[in-house]
Symmetry: none
Subunit: 249 residues, 2 copies
Amino acid sequence: MLKEERFQIILDQLGHEQKVYLGHLSTLLNVSEDTVRRDIKELADQGLLKSVRGGAVPHSPGPHHFRDRIKYDNDQKQIIAKKALQFLKDGQVVIFDGGTSAMLIAQMLPKDLKLTVITNSFPIVSILEEHEHVEVLFAGGRLLKDSFVTIGNDAIQFFKKFRADICLLGICSIHADLGVTGPDFEESEVKRTMIESSKEVIALATTEKLGTAEAYYVCRTERLSVIVTDKESDNEEFDIYRKLGISLV
Amino acid sequence: MLKEERFQIILDQLGHEQKVYLGHLSTLLNVSEDTVRRDIKELADQGLLKSVRGGAVPHSPGPHHFRDRIKYDNDQKQIIAKKALQFLKDGQVVIFDGGTSAMLIAQMLPKDLKLTVITNSFPIVSILEEHEHVEVLFAGGRLLKDSFVTIGNDAIQFFKKFRADICLLGICSIHADLGVTGPDFEESEVKRTMIESSKEVIALATTEKLGTAEAYYVCRTERLSVIVTDKESDNEEFDIYRKLGISLV
DNA sequence: TTTAATATTGCAAAATATTGCACAATACAT
DNA sequence: ATGTATTGTGCAATATTTTGCAATATTAAA
């Protein structure tokens, strides 16, 4: 097997997963772990991935300090992202929220999927840049430097112009009675508009966020069409949301 | 068998497969591995495939990452960027155009300079992210993937909202009579609006762009306050612009 | 801390590349 | 045709790269 073939396979893996393990690759490629390590090092030097202890993670071309916020060793969001992918179909218009969950979905997006993506997140743009069949519409506004999205009235007015098929909404807190809430006023304002401009809202939430609430209101729980979590959907603690007509995945 | 026949067969193989092996080709073409190696080398020189140890893989054009492209243009534009810095003062509102020249200025910007930057360029945002004292206002719109800016009506309407002190304008062509012109209609539209929204326009132009013209009109030459070039300003070919009241740097 | 997992380094064997060269095939001029 | 230059080919000697292994160092976790 050519070295280039191994490179290709490793990079392919990172297109789908958010991490690859030395041991796994070693058996998959039929070479020693040392060789895999050296391959990874070489790819890392080319900036095509990031070498980490025990394996490798994708090199996100986005702003550096944003990348650090992603916890790669935490599989929860990756599970969520993978589950959420099933809802995206060719030709849809999709609003991507600025959180890390939506970002992971963008990273896993098949390269041949044809979408129109509307977003206010810079990292998402830098990921989708490589997707030939994705048209990107970006919401202007004031740059919020710590989360790398635009906010403010301009962003809000931008989203109001659309009627998207789906909104992928990263969730801070969901409470059956109190609805969806977030910790930042302006971001919550923008999220509210994203939701208003979409037919269906798919909430991306790790289970520990269920049943909690924060200061700023985003939307009623019933507005969500689907809640994608990292746990099995037959969990009994989800029943309360099912009663509201929301499907859980 | 003709050498050209072998070339054709090798390239055909790479059309179907993602790789070819020396050994395989050697038996297939009935020549020694050395010859195959030489064939591959020749094809690689023509850029038709990529030679790798043990065989060859299709030549991937590779996504020309916008940020990388900067390294090539450097020499002249760096001079320009350095000269242009003198015009930026604390507290100003500055529109940054999407070209590489403006990008270099952003990269050289002192970290303690206090500015409000308005732009439609993603690379500029990712540079200025690290500048604590720079507030960034970003123009939304449709993403133009090859130059990494937003364009379209949304971008135009965004710029119309401001009255900036300075517009840093990357120039495609300047002609004393025909004015400033560019090769892309939509980008030129946006540039026009940037100019309308600024008190002063500082043009960033390598000298070979002076005296040339392209298809799409941007603005009259007299609208420029300053032209920053890579040559000494006492050059006689600049006189024609001085007569129009433009300072050359 | 101790312990287990992972990384790094040096090294030798195997695979592959490069080089120089002899010779064959072809082209090209006379 | 004939000789000559040019190019293409295979072979062998040599150089380089790749790879796996083992010894050692480093890191993360208990």
